[in-house]
Amino acid sequence: MKDFGYARSIDVASTVTALSRGGAAVIAGGTELLNWFRLGISDDDSVIDIGDIGELRGISQYGDELFIGALATLNDVESHPAVNSGAAALASACRQAASAQLRNRATLGGNVLQRSRCPYFRAEQPLPWGCNKRSAGSGCSSLAGQHERQAIFGWTEDCVAVQPSDPAVALAALDARVDVTGPAGGRSIPMTDFHLTQQEAVGSGNPQRENRLEPGELIIGYRLALRPGQGQAYVKVRERASYEYAIVSAAATVRSEGGVIREARVALGSVAQKPWRLGDIEPELVGLALDRDALMPVIDRAMSAARPLPNNGFKTVLAGRAAARALLLAGGAA
């Protein structure tokens, strides 16, 4: 691993000041950053350890709203009573992420900042192949190579990778907001807008960009409305029963009466470089019976916008069915 300088931060303000000077990365659980250093994905000269900043750690309930500090570990989140009762999709997503020992280190703040699992991206430098995310202009080896697990929405010929986070998908379905602070002050970003697809990144003027954090900004935590009266589910489709990244996933919340959907939210994971909320069809789900045959035509309309690569068309089918299953599970009909 590369050498780096280390400092332990004691508060958010001084962390932001240090970050705004450049050249430093934030470390908390370290489950991503240390591997970035090993592979050469990050070459920051120093790290600021925010692990001791108490104000970032807690999970607090304020009435119907929940605040989850950035330093809450995935195991903290999955085991928290309020998360399990009012944000069960998030608890389930955390429980199905990584392994028990990784979840004791990995934080919810860092989790949404994890980068693609694309095997061409995650190789040790010097890379024996092109990867525009590692070296701009070197090409995307996945496009013409292995890409079965890559994006079906929002990709460009420069990069076809997906954002692999499980919790981000649940947070997107739950209308969570990401609270950040930085040199220009604090702001709040909807989870659904936090990440950018490759197409959105091009539109932003920086094709490399994967999220809306500005230099020097730090995730403080997440705010979401608890919905204890709504059924929730997170469906993760993967090649192993446990400890495996999703091929596709789906998070859903459903309020129903007599087997009929009154309100629904659904987001897909591992289909794009961001959680893919199916906001356009959510109004159309209202009034439908909690029945696969009733849901699939509406879901298929959303999936018809997919633009699969030559060898990942199966993900369009799989993701649509995962969405249906998540809705049915959330509605108590599966």
């Binding site: 691993m1 590369k2 050498d3 780096f4 300088g5 280390y6 400092a7 332990r8 931060s9 004691i10 508060d11 958010v12 303000a13 001084s14 962390t15 932001v16 000041t17 240090a18 705004s20 430093a24 470390i27 659980g29 370290g30 489950t31 240390l34 591997n35 250093f37 090993r38 120093s46 790290v47 600021i48 350890d49 692990g51 195991n75 990584a98 392994s99 028990a100 020992q101 990784l102 004791n104 280190r105 602070t181 040199p183 220009a184 002050g185 604090g186 192993r240 029963a241 446990s242 400890y243």
Partner: protein, 171 residues
């Protein structure tokens, strides 16, 4: 916003850090480079080679140790992040008089290994799995032990060992 008020607390980056870690019940003081992982430090400086270096990227679990009672991957923890904490490795599990921990005994009795390379991580993970309350049935054990890979595929025996040890510990 707060930037100007906080100059006093802006941290200073260091290339060497003094740490004090309680390892298997004894305080160990050392000076480490920040990039030293807890795993490398335990193995190469403290001399505890029980925790193994398998993948060195958090994928295999054979480096699993307990930090303040929680199982963690030693390869993804910096030694400086162990400062002030209690670290328990497989060497610290047995009684000082040599009596094996119930989990160690169960692994022997259930023949829960072939090559043994994953065993220290499996055992430490199993100790935590049981104390977390995730060892009530086979399915739960398989789910909560999934972070420890066994290339010899001794999973049925490992699962049996965890269940047997849980039964003894909770009896």
């Amino acid at each position: 916003m707060l930037a100007e008020d906080s100059v006093d607390t802006v941290p200073e980056f260091r290339r060497r850090m003094a740490i004090r870690v309680h390892v298997n019940g004894s305080a160990v003081e050392a000076e480490v480079t920040p990039r030293s992982t807890l795993l490398d430090w335990l193995r190469e400086s403290v001399g505890l080679t029980g925790a193994k270096k398998g993948c060195n990227e958090g994928a295999c679990g054979t480096c699993t140790v307990l930090v303040d009672g929680r199982r963690m991957n030693g390869c993804l923890t910096l030694a400086v992040q162990g400062d002030g904490r209690e670290v328990l490795t497989v060497e610290g599990l047995a009684d000082p008089d040599g009596d094996l921990h119930p989990v160690q005994r169960a692994f022997v009795e259930q023949d829960a290994f072939q090559c043994g390379y994953c065993t220290p991580g499996q055992i430490m993970s199993a100790v935590a799995c049981i104390s977390e309350g995730h060892a009530g049935d086979e399915g739960t054990v398989r789910e909560w032990m999934s972070g420890n890979i066994c290339r010899c595929s001794s999973y049925p025996q490992i699962t049996a060992a965890v269940l047997a040890a849980a039964d003894e510990i909770q009896r």
